[in-house]
């Protein structure tokens, strides 16, 4: 075997570095309360890369119909879905009990948060994403690399 120089190696290295930046580019700089978003004409948040993430009014109204008016301030959007090292599972980051109520209502099953996270499986994730397209966001956890 004679050593040869791979022509695309440098280019691929650049691509790979870019890939790491891209996956979490859509993370929100800060989450907004549901009640605040409902008041906005064009509800949106700013992502970590400076782009905007728009919410659908219909979806926000659907969420608002699920919970009491006084609890709308506790629900921070977008809800973050953390993808960990186990590919079959995903975890929803849960700061209050409102998320728990919303998720259990959408999935039509009781869910229990463990250490601030609700663990769901891939088929349930598809169901959740179908119902909450703009109000949920993926997070690629650094634990993936472990």
């Amino acid at each position: 075997m004679m050593p040869t120089n791979l022509p695309y190696e440098r280019m691929l290295q650049e691509c790979l570095r870019g890939e790491l930046r891209v996956v979490n580019a859509g993370l929100p700089r800060s989450q907004k309360q549901l009640s605040t978003l409902l008041r906005e004409e064009y509800p949106h948040i700013v992502c970590s890369d400076g782009s905007t993430h728009s919410f659908k009014k219909k979806e926000l109204e659907h969420l608002a119909s699920m919970i009491d008016t006084d609890k709308q301030e506790s629900l921070l959007l977008p809800m973050l879905i953390e993808l960990g090292p186990n590919q079959a599972e995903a975890a929803i980051i849960c700061q209050t009990d409102v998320e728990e109520k919303v998720i259990s209502e959408i999935l039509n099953m009781p869910v229990t948060p463990k250490q601030g996270r609700i663990t769901i499986y891939k088929p349930q994730l598809a169901l959740l994403r179908k119902a909450l397209k703009t109000t949920t966001q993926y997070v690629f956890s650094p634990k993936i690399l472990e």
Binding site: M1, T4, T134, I144
Partner: protein, 210 residues
């Protein structure tokens, strides 16, 4: 297929660098694979929704056409056209972007409380026209929904292709190439050690003789 070796100087520092690069490549492969699985799941979901939206759109248009034909028959073509031209307005669509695992997807939403078609004189028109207008609003909604889904499908498809190419490059070119080069360097160092030992033995014999 024999793996191509990366052209490096056979030194220990290069070996350490290659090992570090291999670890990085394996980590990135993990992320890219996860991203690919998420994108594929979203793509399949969008494809299913697109089929459903298309069916809904065709049904809505056929129903609207029927209702409009009845309304035209009732009012007469010229009277109906006169009534509708006066109230013609463009629909208001709120457009934005959302991000799915690094892919920016357009998001469209029809505004005006979903009733952009009403504006004609209710005294001079009948309930047939109301019914046709109601169905036309559904058509508009279905069109906007389909536009969003179809573009999402295209963008997700393109991103899946790109990600798959990266995964394949990592899996079949970069990682095996790095592994083969590390193996080659290790073998070279072992060979050098053996040569060194042989040389030392030979020197020892020569010194003992002399």
């Amino acid at each position: 297929m024999p793996q191509q070796l990366i052209k490096v100087r056979p030194t220990k520092i290069e070996l350490v660098k290659l090992k570090r690069r291999l670890r990085l490549a394996e980590r990135v492969q993990k992320i890219v694979k996860d991203r690919l699985s998420i994108l594929t799941m979203e793509f399949l979901q969008t494809a299913r929704e697109t089929v459903e939206a298309k069916r809904k759109l065709i049904d809505a248009f056929s129903e609207t056409y029927k209702a409009l034909s009845i309304a035209t028959g009732y009012h007469g073509y010229i009277a109906l056209e006169k009534e509708l031209i006066a109230t013609e307005t463009g629909p208001k669509v709120a457009a934005g972007l959302r991000n799915i695992a690094g892919v920016r997807i357009p998001s469209f939403e029809l505004r005006d409380n979903g009733k952009p078609m009403r504006g004609y004189n209710l005294v001079d028109t009948s309930s047939w026209l109301d019914h046709a207008a109601q169905l036309a609003e559904k058509c508009l909604e279905a069109t906007v929904e389909l536009a969003e889904l179809q573009r999402s499908l295209e963008l997700l498809g393109m991103e899946i292709n790109r990600t798959k190419r990266i995964t394949n490059a990592l899996e079949y070119m970069i990682i095996p190439g790095l592994q083969a080069t590390i193996k080659y360097l290790n073998m070279k160092f072992e060979e050098r050690d053996r040569e060194e030992k042989g040389r030392l033995k030979r020197v020892k014999v020569l010194v003992a003789r002399g």
